[in-house]
């Protein structure tokens, strides 16, 4: 748990909008304070029927109003208690389909808001959270009255946060949405325009919302550099009518909807069709995983190295909110689609490279939390993973145990011995320097941080599935 989550603390990411902020009350409950300047906008959201419309459609996070005595500072006029989500994920951890869903949700919210003569004052991807496979808008303070004729102030932000990474993922490479981790306010449009292939100039939406807008930004930057006054004479005659604004939103929606990522097989996406398990082994591993989870009864499970989520869905079916991490974007994409198809709404698939997990970033390293700060999970599943970290990435077993102990209370972990065909594959092109990679050493190293509760062989293999409990628990 990070310091911003301690009782009484203001959420360190909640400072840009002077209209209010999110804080953790002394009672451990998450609150949002609404300051005097934003109270009228909030009342309008509630009284206009927009809140009921959006929450009724599952687009906006629900909240209750809390007594004013819970406010964090004198500036507060209203305090609300939003429904809290079990895990907050970030856009740079989403797959293509998740980012696309989040973009479409933002546009739907803005279109609905316009019907009620309100408007989104920002369009940050961080306003969206995933509740399992369903995106939901979480910033109740993002609404302001719509002023007839005004352009959409959040238009550039929408293009930077959503359209640019989606276009780059679709036309260049899905991993390019990783740029969102470097550019916290979205990918600069000049950069996106440079990186996109020339043929995207022929796509009307991308031409307008990325290339021409980027050109205009370049021109504007030149003008400011040359200190030439802005010519506003032509603009005084023009305004962005509501029809034009709806047209622009419709164009953005069409552009986003038409963006598709290129389907192809990656190193891991056909893993289950191409691994060393027998059917008997798979069944045994599933049975053991279920039995271990039954014993620990977790509320939140993190499945590390989840692949396409076969085992995540076991945890989810048992009622645990399951966050399924994998470093392979295609696996995360498949997991997301599969979980959607099977209507499991408590699985959240995310892209994460465990050898380089999401760090704490943003202002003072406190705006976006590291993976560890978002834990600990009740139970971690680390199936067919340890050999990749220990041998594939040279991490000593003791360090793996130490890190996992910071992430969870219970650990379901599979030990894959050195003579296993998958481990041998990792050693194919390198010298075997891993003399300490043995079952005995594994148990000794993990024994420092965990109590071993169960150890059972997986049928048809030399692999062993352990259930452990953190000694700090």
């Amino acid at each position: 748990m990070r310091d911003g989550e301690m009782p009484g603390a203001v959420n360190p990411a909640s400072f840009r909008d002077p209209g209010g902020f999110v804080f953790r009350g002394g009672d451990g409950i998450l609150y949002r304070q609404i300051n005097t300047g934003a109270a009228d906008d909030y009342r309008r959201l509630m009284d206009s029927g927009l809140y009921a419309d959006l929450t009724g459609a599952g687009l906006l996070i629900e909240h209750d109003e809390a007594p004013l005595t819970t406010r964090r500072s004198e500036a507060g006029e209203i305090v609300i208690r939003p429904r809290e989500l079990p895990f907050i994920s970030y856009p740079y951890e989403w797959s293509f389909a998740q980012l696309k869903e989040a973009a479409l949700l933002t546009l739907r919210v803005q279109e609905r808001a316009l019907h009620f003569n309100m408007c989104l004052k920002d369009a940050s991807a961080y306003n969206i959270a995933f509740k399992g496979t369903r995106p939901v808008f979480i910033d109740t303070l993002s609404f302001e009255p719509y002023a007839e004729g005004a352009p959409w102030v959040a238009y550039r932000q929408f293009c930077q946060h959503f359209l640019a990474p989606l276009a780059l993922a679709a036309y260049r490479e899905p991993r390019m949405s990783n740029l969102l981790q470097v550019h916290l306010d979205g990918i600069p449009l000049e950069l996106a325009s440079q990186l996109l292939p020339r043929r995207t100039w022929l796509r009307f939406g991308l031409l307008m919302h990325i290339h021409l807008l980027a050109s205009m930004q370049r021109r504007e930057a030149r003008r400011q550099k040359q200190r030439t006054p802005l010519d506003t004479s032509a603009l005084q005659k023009r305004s962005v009518t509501k029809t034009a604004l709806r047209g622009m939103l419709d164009s953005l929606r069409g552009t986003v909807e038409h963006l598709m990522y290129r389907r192809r097989v990656t190193e891991w996406s056909d893993y289950y069709a191409n691994n060393s398990y027998s059917d008997e082994g798979v069944e045994c591993k599933k049975r053991l995983t279920s039995a271990y989870l039954e014993r620990t009864k977790p509320r939140v499970v993190w499945d590390l190295g989840a692949n396409t989520g076969q085992y995540s869905r076991i945890a989810a079916r048992m009622g645990a909110y399951t966050v399924a991490f994998d470093m392979d974007w295609r696996c995360v994409e498949i997991n997301f689609q599969e979980s959607r198809t099977t209507q499991l709404d408590n699985v959240l698939p995310l892209c994460m490279d465990l050898t380089n997990p999401s760090p704490a970033i943003g202002w003072a390293h406190r705006e976006r939390s590291s993976l560890q700060d978002r834990g600990p999970a009740d139970t971690i599943l680390a199936l067919a993973l340890v050999h990749h970290i220990a041998i594939g990435n040279n991490v000593p077993l003791g360090r793996i145990a130490e890190y996992f102990a910071k992430l969870c209370r219970h650990l379901v972990i599979e030990f894959v011995p050195k003579d296993d065909v998958q481990t041998q594959r990792l050693l194919e092109s390198r010298e075997d320097i891993f003399t300490g990679y043995t079952r005995e050493r594994f148990e000794a190293e993990f024994g420092v941080f965990f109590r071993i509760l169960e150890a059972n062989a997986i049928a048809g293999s030399d692999r062993v599935l352990y259930l452990m409990e953190s000694v700090a628990n």
Binding site: P151, V153, R156, E220, T243, M248, D250
Partner: protein, 79 residues
């Protein structure tokens, strides 16, 4: 002297863009970006016209569907 002129120019631009032209954006905490705001004003006609044509076309299609008794597709209601 130049920086003074520039300062006044900047204030004038901000006032024109946020308060005079579009009163609703005067208190927005987000910087919409001068270029993005201007771009919308310039492209408004294009987006507006395309949208009107799209809606008009959807109505024509809906009319003929009604005549032939076919039910409209979900997408057409968005147009």
């Amino acid at each position: 002297m130049r920086s003074h002129r520039y300062g006044l120019g900047k204030i004038a631009v901000a006032a024109m863009l946020s308060a005079f032209l579009w009163p609703g954006t005067a208190h927005a905490y987000l910087d919409g970006g001068t270029a993005a705001l201007l771009f919308q004003a310039l492209a408004a006609g294009v987006f507006g016209a395309l949208f009107v044509v799209k809606m008009f076309w959807a109505r024509i299609k809906a009319f003929f569907r009604k005549l032939t008794g076919r039910t409209p597709r979900e997408n057409d209601t968005n147009a």
